[in-house]
Amino acid sequence: MTDYEKMFHPKKLAIVGVSSDGGSVGFGNGILLACQAMGYEGQIFPVNPKGGTFAGLTIYKRVEDIPAELDFAVISVAARAVPDALRACREKGAAGAEIISSGFGELGTAEGMALEQQIRDIAATGIRVIGPNCFGIYCPKSGLTFMPGPDLSRESGPVAFLSQSGGMSIDFANTGKWMGLRFSKVVSFGNGADLRETELLRYFGDDPETRVIAMYIEGIEDGEAFFRTIQSVSAKKPVIVYKGGLSAAGQRAVVSHTASMGGSRVIWPAVLRQVRAVQVQGMMEMAQTSLAFALLPEKTFRGISVVGGGGALGVAACDAAEAAGMVLPLLPADRKALIETFLPKPGSSAANPIDVANPYVPPKALKEVLLRAAEDDRIELQVMISLLYHYKSMGQAMGKPVAEVTPYLELADVVHDAVNKTGKPVVLVLPNPRKGLDDLDIVEMQEQARRAFLDRGISVFDEIGDALRAIGHVHAYYGERNAKHE
């Protein structure tokens, strides 16, 4: 049995490969500092044959000298020294180790392959390995983090992320930080000599701290096992997959049309549909989709209303909704007329999309619009497009900074109220076409606004297309899952 608890929430952590103060600063030093900066509460035992001290900690010359049983180890020494270090950590009781070092199978050399095989063999004797050639684990709850992640969030949440690529892991963790994703665990497993996609996916499937799983995949080791696992996990919780590196056709010379058309660019999407995974085409879409799954109720949203923006944004919303399998039901004349009593005239139109005529409609009026529109049974979710950047012009006229005149806090409060009163989620879209150096005040205000909504559990997207694509994934996933259970 793999003791994942000890791996993700270690109380005794060895970091093998930490140079003493004044020495060269390697990955081991970086990880140690990053974990300290994150406020990791466990005990850290740095190791280096030369001894000394670093960051206020005594460096042990050998793993064997550590005066405690270990839970987990970070190994960052030259590839050739890794097997001995790993063996020593196992003997010290570590349930697992992440091997940051490179110089293994990824080199394609006989020596690299042989070292990786040694790691696999040691792992089989009772220590689970993440890596080599990886960034390892980021776990907000324990404070364990990547070397380049000293300022990641300590707030835990429902999203787990799993990736071969270390770069993708840190990018996704950083994106999540501002976008509002909260992570249960993030794992970069690099070469995946021992633990890799299928086993980690199965673990996240069973992990009560994880409700949404996102993963970046380049290749998989065992197609059959992966297929069965992702199929069973997808039946329990959404698995969002970004597959990198697809080729148009198979590599071998083939005779039939079927084989010539069955390259990975076709087979992967087909397989992911078959197992009910949620397919995305890039990192931003993966993050946006994770956000929607994390913050929206677990259900379908066939009918939606779109409030705000202008005429063109309303049209774009209709197009994007349709592409995502959703509709904007036309509101009946009496409801339309009622909603229009709260909106400026002329210029507004409450047919759905609801064009509110100008960007300065007071939050109180917008709340009425949300409440009235939600009374239509066909509406299951509301999207509000708020063009907050226009407040800069108002601020200029009044001689005040944009952040001061923009009522984003009040708007966040009324939207939150509307969600509570109607029981129907609202998703915010805060576009900002003004991002240049002379508009950094707008950029900052927009991020304050995003934070205000996220603090109230309301998801925020930058573009209407992003929002509806993400909502569409949620709609499609629960639609299919429910259909399959019938």
Partner: protein, 233 residues
């Protein structure tokens, strides 16, 4: 379903050192898995052709049949809509002449009437193993590439989804006086194609093209089965 009889055909082909089954052999493999194929008889001489024609009944189709020939249309080895004994003899001689040095025989088969052509197939993906294909058949297969795939083994729901997934799925409905396709039967065929891939390791690729809708019923009209390259020794 009879894996043993399919294996018998495949092993015989392998003993001859061949990698590609003839159309006739491929159809016997399909038939042993319960996949509907054209009624057909393989003949080697003119009198056999006459007898076979009488048994199958007019109109019929005659094809040169040899594992060496993958693209029969381009080589004038297909004669369609044959309606008399005289036409049978003429077609027989022309086809035999066209195949000259390659040997082979002539396949006499019922002519399936239908304007809707589909394709089914099987490929082995490096990561996921046997995968089944469905799509628009005939000349549209290559031009439109309107196809869908699922990993085998298929459940019925997978097969039905494959049909819904192609852009031209409307062709399976009742259109222009044509009956709606029997989707249960189509699904069953796709499941069986997948089963061949799962049960018979030697099969590397399958093309069933075209599968023609005769009214509502799909029938495999042409078939190609390619075996794995056998390792030396």
């Amino acid at each position: 379903m009879n894996k043993d009889s399919a294996m018998g055909i495949i092993e015989a082909v392998q003993r001859e050192g061949r990698k590609v089954l003839s159309e006739y052999e491929a159809k016997r493999v399909l038939a042993s898995y319960g996949i509907p194929v054209t009624r057909e008889i393989l003949v080697g001489d003119g009198s056999g052709a006459a007898k076979a024609a009488a048994e199958i009944g007019y109109p019929l189709v005659m094809k040169g049949c040899s594992s060496e020939i993958a693209h029969k249309t381009e080589r004038g080895l297909i004669h369609v809509d044959i309606r008399s004994d005289a036409e049978v003899q003429k077609a027989f001689e022309e086809i035999m002449k066209g195949m000259d040095s390659q040997g082979g025989a002539v396949l006499i088969q019922e002519m399936i009437k239908g304007r809707r052509e589909l394709v089914m197939g099987l490929t082995r993906d490096d990561q996921f193993g046997p995968c089944v294909m469905f799509g628009l058949g005939g000349i549209f297969t290559e031009i439109l590439k309107d196809i869908s795939f699922r990993r085998a083994p298929l459940e019925k729901n997978d097969a039905l989804e494959m049909m819904r997934e192609i852009r031209g799925h409307g062709i399976l409905d009742a259109v222009r006086g044509m009956e709606a396709a029997d989707k249960d039967l189509l699904a069953d065929m796709l499941i069986r194609v997948g089963r061949i891939g799962v049960e018979i390791d030697q099969v590397q690729e399958i093309d069933l093209n075209p599968v023609i809708l005769s009214g509502s019923r799909p029938v495999v009209v042409d078939a190609l089965i390619v075996l794995k390259q056998r390792r030396a020794g």
